[in-house]
């Protein structure tokens, strides 16, 4: 059994917890539906967002240069990183020059993707994640299980216990209000001590040279405005052409992500604060390659709202960790094969191709079509079990020839009808582990049609 199915089975082994996880995320999906349905032009906005992103990606070099030019004119220092390692070194160099020992970070899936935390910790820099969910999993030493709700897999009892151990909250305390207050006090002291702050970027506006950062807690702003050095790390697909385009994207983002009309804070950082330094790191890390894959390039339109995770019936029942990648769920399953086809060859199959992800996606990425296309590539490159390939080529022969079809189905029907149950439901019959096989009728439709149906 390959990886995702095994991890999913392990997750589901605790059925009550699976139901809890499934329902938590379904509630978010319902909130999203309610908010989306409050906007009459919702489908038009999705189409516009999709077209703006398509346009931008087809002129990506132009917009990145425009963005850089304007950012430089604003007094911002712009850095380019071809991969994760370079990104980490660039950030480290900035910190070293300013003798930074303490860094506060707001949520950034990109730095997660690049493995920035462990890298900086090795260099002796204290790094504190300040989004509550991120802080929880940092204290627990776990990766995020969702890109918007990183600790969605944890129960409040577990968080209470963790906070008791790490933040000295009362033993047995599980009230979210109380635990959040404890985190507030704990994080405020870190904000005040930090020498530098790092955030991700939701949108980089080429026209202004500024970056837009969206949060609900206000943690990104707390860090950025208190520390003398501010660093914004962005994947190169984050650029959008105009200020006005923020209208389209901010209307879609929070409604899709959490079912809010907009995030509480939508900040536009344009120039360094008086006496401060502002850096923007533009990161490639495989994105320019993905741009060259015609069938998959539009995955770069993603604005990281997480709606595809919340709606995915598989994600909801297997948890983010079962995907073993920073960005889990449907969008992760089309991004990962481009990074390492063999390692992630199980992910495009962790889907029924139900298409719900595609229909919730605010930028209209054809996620389930891309899953289908990755499957073809994975099979062709030989990353599926040999037995599977043999099975399929046999099926192909049978199904393309009426004669072979008749012969094979006759045998199958006989086996299914006359084989004693213990033999029919041997371990190898995976279908039959928790399901009955269909009952075999006396006659197929073909037989019936030949004898009776044809008369009319």
């Amino acid at each position: 059994m390959s990886k995702h199915p095994q991890k999913a089975a392990d997750f589901i082994a605790n059925e009550a917890r699976t139901d809890w996880h499934d329902q938590s995320l379904w509630v978010v999906r319902e909130k999203r539906d309610k908010l989306a349905k409050g906007i009459a032009e919702w489908e038009e906005l999705r189409e516009l967002a999709s077209q703006i992103k398509d346009h931008t990606l087809s002129h990506l070099d132009h917009y990145l240069e425009e963005f850089e030019k304007n950012a430089l004119a604003n007094g911002v220092q712009v850095h380019w990183a071809k991969d994760a390692e370079t990104h980490n070194h660039i950030v480290h160099d900035i910190l070293q020059k300013q003798k930074v020992r303490r860094l506060v970070k707001s949520k950034s899936m990109l730095t997660e993707e690049c493995g920035l935390n462990p890298f900086l910790e090795k260099q002796g820099i204290e790094i504190i994640d300040t989004d509550l969910g991120e802080r929880i999993i940092q204290l627990k030493d776990e990766p995020p299980s969702h890109i918007v709700m990183p600790a969605i897999h944890l129960k409040k009892e577990e968080i209470g216990e963790l906070f008791h151990e790490k933040l000295q909250t009362e033993k047995g305390a599980t009230d979210p209000q109380y635990l959040t207050e404890a985190a507030r006090q704990h994080l405020r002291s870190h904000f005040l001590q930090a020498d530098a702050a790092l955030s991700g970027v939701n949108f980089a506006v080429a026209e202004t040279g500024g970056v837009t950062v969206c949060t609900n807690e206000g943690n990104a702003d707390m860090g950025i405005h208190l520390a003398p050095v501010q660093i914004h790390c962005m994947g190169l697909e984050k650029v959008i052409p105009r200020q006005k385009d923020l209208g389209v994207f901010t209307r879609l983002l929070a409604r899709s992500a959490t079912g809010q009309p907009i995030t509480i804070y939508t900040s536009h950082h344009l120039k360094p604060k008086p006496g401060g330094e502002m850096h923007i790191v533009i990161v490639d890390n495989g994105r320019s390659e993905q741009l060259g894959r015609e069938d998959f390039r539009n995955s770069l339109k993603c604005i990281r709202c997480g709606a595809c995770m919340n709606t995915c019936p598989i994600y909801r029942r297997s948890g983010g960790h079962s995907y073993d990648y920073t960005v889990p769920g449907p969008i992760g399953s089309i991004l990962t094969p481009g990074k390492d086809l063999k390692k992630y060859s199980d992910l495009p199959f962790a889907s029924t191709l139900c298409g719900s992800c595609t229909d919730v996606c605010p930028v209209k990425i054809d996620i389930h079509q891309q899953l289908y296309k990755w499957r073809q590539i994975i099979a062709e490159e030989g990353h599926l079990p040999k037995a599977k390939a043999r099975e399929m080529s046999m099926a192909a022969k049978v199904l393309s020839s009426p004669k072979a079809y008749r012969r094979a189905t006759k045998w199958m029907r006989r086996l299914m009808r006359f084989l004693p149950r213990p033999l029919l439901y041997l371990n190898r019959n995976v279908w039959g582990k928790q399901r009955e096989l269909p009952q075999v009728p006396r006659q197929t439709f073909k037989d019936w049609y030949k004898h009776e149906g044809n008369e009319s």
Partner: protein, 191 residues
């Protein structure tokens, strides 16, 4: 560094799709009364909306937050209880209430827009315990498109839309108001 940039841009040029057009679009219309909608949305996210005729007075604030609180005021109605311009940002935490004028607000999502020109320190609206906005009723627009037509983000070093008190739902999706920024947001709408 230069090589790295050239390299990335070169790969993009090679790999990008044929040009696709940039759509143009006008602000979408709406069928609600902006002032009513703003109040409804702001209250739904835990903010408070008060309609104000004339100046805000000390009694009103005492009513909301008690006596003897430290206040920074960015509006004429009221003077600050301490001089923040002489403080460094990290000395600001004792500030309990911050009152700021808002340039514009958006009805569909409750977002209130302000920029650095009203901020002696950028961190002020985030680090205070309670935030008060003063908003002219005529400055409420319908949706984000309208808002972005009216403002110019390239004019100020920092600008922000704030759409309620700080909040989180990171523990079992339970909504908690007062995560890291202001614990409350009160919007005075002046006719």
């Amino acid at each position: 560094m230069k090589e790295m940039k050239a390299d990335i841009l070169h790969r993009i040029k090679q790999n990008k799709a044929n040009p696709k057009p940039l759509p143009d679009y006008a602000a979408f219309g709406y069928d609600f009364d902006p002032r009513e909608k703003f109040t409804e949305v702001m209250e739904a996210v835990g903010g408070k909306v008060l309609h104000q005729k004339g100046k805000i007075n000390a009694a009103q604030l005492a009513n909301l937050f008690g006596e003897g609180i430290s206040i920074y005021s960015g509006v004429e109605d009221f003077s600050s209880t301490l001089d923040v311009s002489s403080l460094s940002p990290k000395d600001l935490p004792p500030i309990e209430v911050v009152i700021l004028p808002v340039q514009l607000a958006v009805a569909e999502n409750g977002a209130c827009y302000l920029d650095e020109s009203v901020l002696p320190h950028r961190v002020l609206p985030f680090i205070c315990q309670h935030l008060i906005f003063v908003l002219e009723a005529k400055s409420i627009v319908g949706n984000m498109h309208e808002a972005l037509e009216k403002i110019d983000l390239s004019q100020q070093g920092f600008s922000v839309f704030i759409a309620g008190p700080s909040k989180t739902a990171d523990i079992e999706q339970a909504l908690v108001i007062g995560a890291q920024g202001a614990r409350s947001l009160t919007v005075f709408i002046r006719q």
